[in-house]
Symmetry: D2
């Protein structure tokens, strides 16, 4: 059986907030990136970059802000990947407050990525990444 989404925990520090009292809106994109890296495995991403010169690059971001997170909050980023083609992955990414009985998403988002080689040329999503996402999330191209 496959997962519906992967989860990644993010704690909100001073650095994350702005003077309006909530998390600065650009920062959710950082949390999304952290969550995706843990989904794929940071060591594997480093190895892909260093050994094969292949890196993931964001091509599209969509964000819908519903509620603001605050200093001290612990957020849960829920990430569902899907392979659009051999060249393009998209990630549905939601931000929830952890242990929050009210149960509302704070931010809804979608991120599309491609893989580039050292010369910035588009390459296929590495087979090992495709395989792993398929075994974890049951995805097919």
């Amino acid at each position: 059986m496959s997962l519906t989404y992967g989860t990644h925990e993010v704690r909100i520090y001073y650095e994350d907030t702005d003077h309006s009292g909530v998390v600065y809106h650009a920062n959710y994109i950082k949390y999304y990136e952290r969550a995706r890296e843990h989904l794929l495995g940071p060591e594997k991403l480093v190895a892909l970059w260093e050994d094969q010169g292949v890196g993931f690059v964001v091509t599209k971001v969509e964000l819908n802000y519903k509620l603001g997170a605050r200093f001290g909050d612990v957020l849960e980023i829920r990430t569902t990947p899907s392979l659009n083609s051999k060249y393009r992955i998209s990630f549905d990414q939601q931000v929830w407050r952890k242990n929050d009985p009210s149960g509302k998403a704070l931010v809804l988002g979608k991120v599309e990525m491609v893989c580039l080689d050292r010369d910035n040329k588009l390459v296929e999503i590495p087979q090992q990444v495709q395989d792993e996402l398929q075994s974890k999330f049951g995805m097919k191209v």
Copy 2:
């Protein structure tokens, strides 16, 4: 005659880049915010916040990344506002490299904002902001 878009210049420093060699993708949202603030007038925004307790809040962001900016680049953010209703402004925001004869946009984006009062209640876009945008950009609700 009214403007097509407002421009704001952004210089790329070390802080803006990441180890892939180009500007970190979340940072364009910061440049967008700076450009919008200069469009509306930072002093007016401060006054709105301090005197009337009205602040602008981002509800939606869409970004399409085309080309990466690099350390030392000087970018031009081109911002075209439009009033969707008395409660919602949207901004078409593009990132171009300044003095670049090749003439391609680096990032295309769209940002939607609303106004909230001190209790986080939705309020109308202040009339003075509506008037100013209309006189500069010829917008009508």
Copy 3:
């Protein structure tokens, strides 16, 4: 028996690095802040702020950069607090790479903090914070 230092783990993401290939030098101050918050307890800091209106403010930072951290590194921040007076805490904070047999510190630093109330007036370090640091680290004023 008391601890010599508290430890806090930090993983290095794209957002942390700059185009020179290593972590951007200002970011270590963020990691220091995260480490101090975990030393004192984020929930307690939130409660201090919300219930008593008391917040910690940095008055001094000293940093010595020895080696650069890279994308994918897992760092360990080692923090040793000391109470200089009833009004001033200082933190010796070092950055090490985790599971690194070469055993060299990447960054050495020192941070001084005071407590302010809602009117930005200097107040004593809350007794509960003093007590906890003393019980964990054997500190005395």
Copy 4:
């Protein structure tokens, strides 16, 4: 006659502040970097990096925080360089509020830098940088 210090203007946006209402303390290090780059000339720094593979690296930072800057503030960074040796420059860097009759510095700081080549080996401060700083600020090693 030579200058006492170079000035660089920084405007404070949402991104710069934190939930305490003032500028997040790590961000002043960013403003310091921007000010140093403009002192030396961003184009020259880019050329040094691309043509000669020589980059400036921060080895030491000291900061004393006196007063907090706020959203909408326009700050003036005042930078006085001095050549400690052929291998080491230090910069005295102060943060002032622009057009502020009360006339108090917000942050006092000192930054030391060295030059590294592409292999991270210490090299002399490039002669052209030494010459320029000497002609502008009357410095001698």
